[in-house]
Amino acid sequence: MSEIGTTVFRKDARAKVTGEALYATDLFEEGMLHGAVVRSPVPHARILSIDAGPALALPGVFAVLTSKDVPGKNEFGVITRDQPVLCNDTVRFTGDAVALVAAETREQAYQGAREVRVAYDPLPSVFDVESALREHAPLVHEKGNILKHVHLEKGNVESGFPEADIVLSETFRTAPGEHMPLETEAGLAKVSQDGVITIWASTQSAYRDQRDLAHALGLPENRIRVIVPHVGGAFGRKDGITVQIYLALLARATGRPVKMHCPREESASFFPKRHGTLLKYKVGAKRDGTLVAAALEAYYDTGAYAVFGEKVMGAGVEYGLGGYRIPHTQINGYSVYTNNPPAGAFRGFGMPQVTFAWESLLDELAYRCGMDPLEFRLKNSADHGEEGPLGQIFETSTGLRQTLEGVRSSPLWKKRLDLKTVSDPFKARGVGVASCIKGCGLGIGMPDFAEAEVQILPEGTFVARVGVTDMGEGIATTFCQIVAELLGVSSESVECIQSDTFLNPPGGPTAASRNTILTGKACFLAAEDLKRVLCETAARHWGGAPEGVVLTKSGPRMEGRTASFSEVSSWMVEQGKPPGVRARYDMPVASRPLGYGLPHRIYSFASHAALVEVDRLTGQVTVLEVSAFLDCGNVLNPQGLEGQSEGGVAQGIGFALMEKNVIQEGSVLNNKLSTYIIPTAPDMPAVETSAVDTYEEAGPFGAKGIAEAASGSVAPAIFNAVRDAVGVRLRDLPLSPEQLVEAMMERHES
């Protein structure tokens, strides 16, 4: 293997370092208009009237559209279509879309949006899950404030908890958060003469977008073409409709190309966020550290619309007790509507929240049992073939134990007692560990497959056409490596062409740590098939048996005869063969379904160790070192893996220590990069990444996805390190220095 397991520089890096790479924000069309959204300034109200007159009177304003101008169904949503494209009678959050404006310039469009007069009759609102679940709470939707309740039980917690020697009950809260991709929501739409609407959009989900666009525009899907240019980061934020429908409506209504590029404040206020959660845990263990029973009540605030709400909460349920052996468990998960801005998918998909809480709680339990927190985890971690906490069987590669053993053998962990020593009397240091589990794929019940087409070009190079988008993680380069490896060529001679719903086969979203396995495997199968076709073609041309043909880097060879790939390509034309072959791969499903789309069949695991320094005076926490041990199956591209890991750690540190949407009465108060704090270069510690030795049979060359697990256990490792450093544990995330100072003082006084 020459292409697999070695660092291949990402194919798009050159275009990105020169500034040539075009993103949705970089598209300009002759005669294009700019679009802007009129958004509700109140969290919950009836719309009494909309007057576009003052806006239309402004210079440059070309059109104003309202719900009446939505020709198809005025609704969208990934699972439940409960969000109006443009609100007709009710707005449900501050920022709900009411009308669209198209104008000659971006400034004029936003100016126009400010001048559309909308009269509202306020309705009572609800802003937190506890209030939303009270009797007689204001209803966000008529059907009630519970979008979904999931209940799972294994064993019997009633008899389980009494068997435990030590039982802990704790409540944790996590704040809503922002993805903050450097590129905000953007796109451009254009109607061609044959009536096809083409939308270039910064999106993770071209094919689902096409479906949602067709639904809202009342057009067949073959009249909608979605093309994805380079994507400037997404992390779940762009998994679904952001501005795509608005663009199509405006382009269709005005007959001109229309561009939208959301300013940062709009992006960070009104698009789906990471769910804020309320997590009530109870866990019991024997004195020797054996876990006996665990219960979780998880409340996920999905905001005013479902987006992915029930699935994100479902993920919380699935990952909320980690990958441990626990005989008695009970989980209740609630996805709850409020009048907050909607919450959606964000790297980890509901997992980082529960992982923070659960791994904090386990750590505390280890202390109470008088055990080393790492040994405690190792004692309880489930292995391949064993039953997980939900009753699922870990029936594929299961590397939780290896990731923990990796931590145990790491310099950071071995030297942790020495590392705690610090000369500054105002500082304290500690080391913490935590693990996480994340399924690969969308889960049972959601169509979860990908196709790929691998073609040979006349010049003898190859193209992989896929339906998914590289949003920065580098998956397109991985696909090239897979194809190159099977064909025995260099990845230099393979190009990957991404999402174009007219030209490429469908691939589903770039999400859920699914693409290495799904689209990767589809590329694998297509390349394997193309290899067969190439050999057959050469054999037929030379008059021999296909088995006698071998592919070399330069082309096929048979009994002393050689040809270039370019020649084979022309023979394929002569022999009437299409230049490419398609393959499809369906995500394998778990053999023991638990209902609610649970569980996954394939899981990735990670463990992180963190060294932190706590400022005893200010409560500020600095992360000094992180070691990551990742169960991602066989590593396809080490540099790509490190990139995912280091970026995952950065997001984990932000999640743990900085990031929090301050939302007051439904309004986001910190919607700028100056007020919503993400890590800068000086905030980042040295990150050491290692992959543990596992092999996932389902994935291409034994690989599986790691994007989400690579970030998931960072936050609890930090909180656990803080506990190690100063002896106090906080239960609200992000860590509040103020709370920490108070907790340290309380501990000091007692």
Binding site: F426, L617, T618, Q620, T622, M658, V662, L669, N670, S674, T675, I677, P679, T680, A681, P682, D683, P737, E738, V741
Partner: protein, 268 residues
């Protein structure tokens, strides 16, 4: 949007413009452009003084440093003389924004003891506290420009600490600057400045007086921290609560004074 943009050739011309009508002054641009984007100062013409080299200088003479108002923050950081005389100032400047912002932003009203203001034909000079009226409010009149800021070389012990939500590009939660000399086991010429915990930067004068009143002890440092905290009048915002800010004044003043225990010992 303002449609007029004037770039005077010298200070004289700039002051003349200011006498004739109201302008929005563009110095570094780091605040003004944001305000323009927010739709403020819509109809005001812009007076771009950013290239008035007469106001971009750092001079040190006889124990006094004078810095022209248009000196960029990066200029300060590359000044050898400031590195020698006022590291506390550079420590504070390093915490402002990013390299890009420091290349653009000017010292303007930031950080100085004495401010000189010029209007055509008249210059007035005043201590910084008199210049600052409140958040983003100063005594500067619309026909005036800041000429320069000046300060006497601070004493040898200098300490700066800023508390932000991250390690760079952070808006301050609270900050403390301390300078002091030492004589006979006591602090001498101690100045304690507190940032982001009152409507303007303030000095903790009670704490200063207390610290000079007797030979320094650890308990005195804690008491001075407490006093400084009481002198602050912080507010709560998205970054921190008022209570935390007050505590942090105590924490930072304590930390800043701690090394003085050793220094005063050596001055005995």
């Amino acid at each position: 949007m303002s449609l007029e943009y004037i770039r005077p050739r010298n200070v004289e011309e700039a002051l003349e413009c200011l006498l004739s009508r109201t302008f929005k002054i563009l110095a570094g641009g780091t605040d003004l452009v944001i305000q323009l984007r927010e739709g403020r100062h819509k109809d005001l013409p812009i007076l771009d003084i950013s290239r008035l080299s007469e106001l971009r200088f750092i001079r040190e003479k006889d124990g006094k440093t004078v810095i022209g108002a248009l000196t960029t923050l990066s200029d300060l950081l590359s000044s050898e003389s400031l590195r020698r005389t006022a590291p506390v100032l550079l420590a504070a400047v390093r915490e402002i924004g990013s390299v890009q912002i420091r290349n653009m932003g000017t010292i303007g009203t930031r950080f100085c003891q004495i401010v000189s203001l010029g209007r055509k034909g008249r210059t007035r000079t005043m201590p910084l506290p008199d210049f600052l009226l409140g958040p983003c409010k100063t005594v500067l009149e619309s026909c005036e420009l800041i000429h320069s800021v000046s300060f006497s070389t601070p004493p040898v012990y200098q300490h700066f600490e800023k508390l932000g939500e991250r390690k760079a590009q952070a808006i301050s939660i609270a900050s403390t600057a301390l300078v002091s000399g030492f004589k006979n086991g006591r602090l001498k010429g101690i100045r304690v400045a507190l940032g982001s915990v009152a409507p303007t930067v303030i000095r903790a004068k009670q704490a200063e007086a207390f610290l000079e009143s007797r030979p320094l002890t650890p308990d005195m440092i804690l008491d001075a921290g407490e006093m400084a905290a009481q002198e602050a009048s912080p507010i709560s915002d998205v970054r921190a609560t008022a209570a935390y800010r007050r505590k942090m004044v105590m924490a930072m003043v304590t930390r800043g004074l701690w090394p003085c225990l050793k220094e005063v010992g050596e001055s005995r």
